[in-house]
Symmetry: C2
Amino acid sequence: MVWRARCVGRLATIIGPMFSGQTGWSHRLTGGETIRLLAGADAQDDCAVFRLDGVQELVVGSDYVRGPKFGLYELGYLDDYDIGYYLAMANFSDIAAMGAQPIALLSVVRYPKTMPDERFAQVLQGINDACARVGAPNVGGDIGTAERLILSASAVGVVEAGRSLLRGGARPGDRLCITGPTGVAAAAQKYFGKLDVADTRLSPQAEELLLNAWKRPQALVPEGRSLSTSGLVTSCQDSSDGLKAGIESIAARSGVGFTVEEDALPVVGAVEEVAKLSDTELTPLLLGDSVDFQLIFTVPEEHVEELQEIFAAHGHSAFHDIGFATEEPDLLLRGSDGITRRLPGNPWRHAT
Amino acid sequence: MVWRARCVGRLATIIGPMFSGQTGWSHRLTGGETIRLLAGADAQDDCAVFRLDGVQELVVGSDYVRGPKFGLYELGYLDDYDIGYYLAMANFSDIAAMGAQPIALLSVVRYPKTMPDERFAQVLQGINDACARVGAPNVGGDIGTAERLILSASAVGVVEAGRSLLRGGARPGDRLCITGPTGVAAAAQKYFGKLDVADTRLSPQAEELLLNAWKRPQALVPEGRSLSTSGLVTSCQDSSDGLKAGIESIAARSGVGFTVEEDALPVVGAVEEVAKLSDTELTPLLLGDSVDFQLIFTVPEEHVEELQEIFAAHGHSAFHDIGFATEEPDLLLRGSDGITRRLPGNPWRHAT
């Protein structure tokens, strides 16, 4: 159900203007394949309708976010706009990890009857601003009441035929790469969970960097598109379950192992400082359960330089070459101390 | 995130076998356009991937269902399997109402940690059986914990270019039609909410019919496909907000009014009995807020017979011609008493 059909009264006045005029939106893939929105949320129909011309791959995924149950929301560091923004970006990150162009978000926003209009509008505004940022319309979904704020979404993307970036294509010898530093979201939780009231505080800039991992996460859509259209990449996924979990997943699907070079892991100063303040080892923090939305990918060694040039030409930050795939299935860390050991860090795990 | 990547331990043993082998699924539209699942939930990737060949229209929608907050679940009339089944069918009904063929469900199942494995498995089994019923794979989504059971989904469908059934095409003179009787879901709520403990009980068959509106709702996908491929239908939507709300919506989007013939409204005996038992007027029960998943559509008068023949040829039950579109925007009921008045019934309304 695209939602405005159900909305009358105050909701219509909030929602209507946010979604007007999206029908007609279009996108063109590199081979000339086109996608055109024939009926968006503004058409108030049972579903949104796209017309797809040319052979394409369609990618779809869903992510529920804890949203109001995020620790940093409960502590007052995130607001309603932020969790709406996060919902959309978490979903788009899965699309980015497939190398696809997002064409739609479907968002489910259930809210308590006691929630004031302005707060409800802020959630939707956050969702829509994130959609605008990646260039895809929010084509509807479901809005209604519930006992508490519940946020879920699905994202839809398209990619040129044969260009989806799966997890299963890494080959021994491929370089293991990542778009940027990890551990930031986890460090933010550690810091704002308790350390921010300690005697030693981080600089305002470092605090802002940490908090932005939750307030303004970015789905790396342009980077994913470059990885995809380059034709050079053998596997890819996002780091939303943590870096180690991502490496484990590519290894399992590709039937390879990986050796990660500790010295090559990208680190931001704020994360290093949080590790010190909390008396935690840095490397497990970088590898563990931290929802950072970087892209983890593999590329044959002979194409690393070419891919860096493509990144530079598109204005992306240089990616980081952090290790290599092996025939043996083990996941290892070659430490700064020269010793090779099992890859540390607690990956995100489903409750068992 | 397609979910098995996140699942280890007991969940993997429940979920794995339910989703194995779906990659490779395919469907062919009437013009030879093909859809093929390149990476399903069994591929354990960030998203599911489909390859689409030929010009197609893609339809997407989302529905959250109250599920564990359904009155009949709380009263013990629905079980975990039923609410999973309902979740999927509610989503597929939106696809059916577009005249499209479902190609995927993305399901979000968040559950309390205290939920036993068997109950969790029942929810998923209900979802998957509904998917099998309409012939579309459940390609993943999101699974995890929450304070209570939360159910949401998105459905994806495809339809031949130009054949999506929108709400906006009804023209004055078109006949207003519906696939089957309404008011059943609302009557079930009325009856099992309190009347079933009264002295006068319905027959077991009538009770089963009412309950099945909630336990085994059916998205009318084959009927929707016939409406779409016939090329005869000018507008369509499902009756999930109630018959009156559906008529209102087609009227608003098409810029027409409707006159409904009270005598033509299809009625099942059990609903008539519930109206009597509860001392309620029958017609508002048929027109009001009852989630029945029938298809409401309009067709030019000269094509009604041809469309009935198409329905018969495909083995669908005959549809019901219940009124006609008018130039004047009013929504009227021509009563059994010969008097024309405003269309009664309380449509589903978003909280205001």
